[in-house]
């Protein structure tokens, strides 16, 4: 079974630039999460979806961050006008929400904003 796939693995931006991260969850998993993990900290939930619907995006900085999952499968997280404080690893994860089983993580995208 393929795991959660994310791309790119690394990104380096200057402040003010935009970037998009892509995630392909495990097939059949209806719940998809995006987490931000600053260095030496735990993952902090940004947004999660059940199928194509946003369930909770209260922690997503709405002025510069956006996330979509239009067909309930792959998802894209976009940062407009990146700031140095956005430097972190962005983790995508998925689970089968109906059975509340393990949350599986992708390898993440490490973003550095200079």
């Amino acid at each position: 079974e393929a795991g959660v796939t994310q791309s790119p693995r690394y990104a380096v931006l200057q402040e003010g630039q935009a970037v998009s991260f892509w995630c392909d969850p495990i097939s059949g998993h209806d719940t998809l999460y995006w987490y931000q993990q600053p260095r030496d900290q735990g993952p902090q939930l940004l947004v999660y979806f059940r199928d194509e619907a946003v369930i909770d995006n209260s922690q997503l900085p709405s002025d510069r961050f956006s996330a979509v999952r239009p067909k309930g499968t792959n998802s894209t997280l976009k940062i407009q006008s990146a700031k140095q404080g956005d430097t972190a690893t962005y983790l995508c994860a998925s689970s089968s929400g109906t059975t509340n089983t393990e949350v599986f993580f992708g390898k993440g995208t490490r973003l550095t904003v200079v």
Partner: protein, 113 residues
Amino acid sequence: GQQVKQSSPSLTVQEGGISILNCDYENDMFDYFAWYKKYPDNSPTLLISVRSNVDKREDGRLTVFLNKSGKHFSLHITASQPEDTAVYLCAAGSNTGYQNFYFGKGTSLTVIP
């Protein structure tokens, strides 16, 4: 506010000793509790999880204790080994309709040979 909290950012234990990692949570609707292990430059991987209908679960050297009234759970690692050195993340969530899942900031465990 932070839904899940790990009050100790770091812990050092002698090889062979017991490592005890603690986690507190805010939402008494949470019914699923887990510990993840994270090595540098790797994504978190699940170690052990427990549902709210039990207060203890053992798996080899790992034991999770759940105290629902205190909104607290812990991970005990017996016979700690240097290869246990890593960051340990606790997580809690709910499956009431829609699943949400929140992590603590992590405890960095160092096991000294």
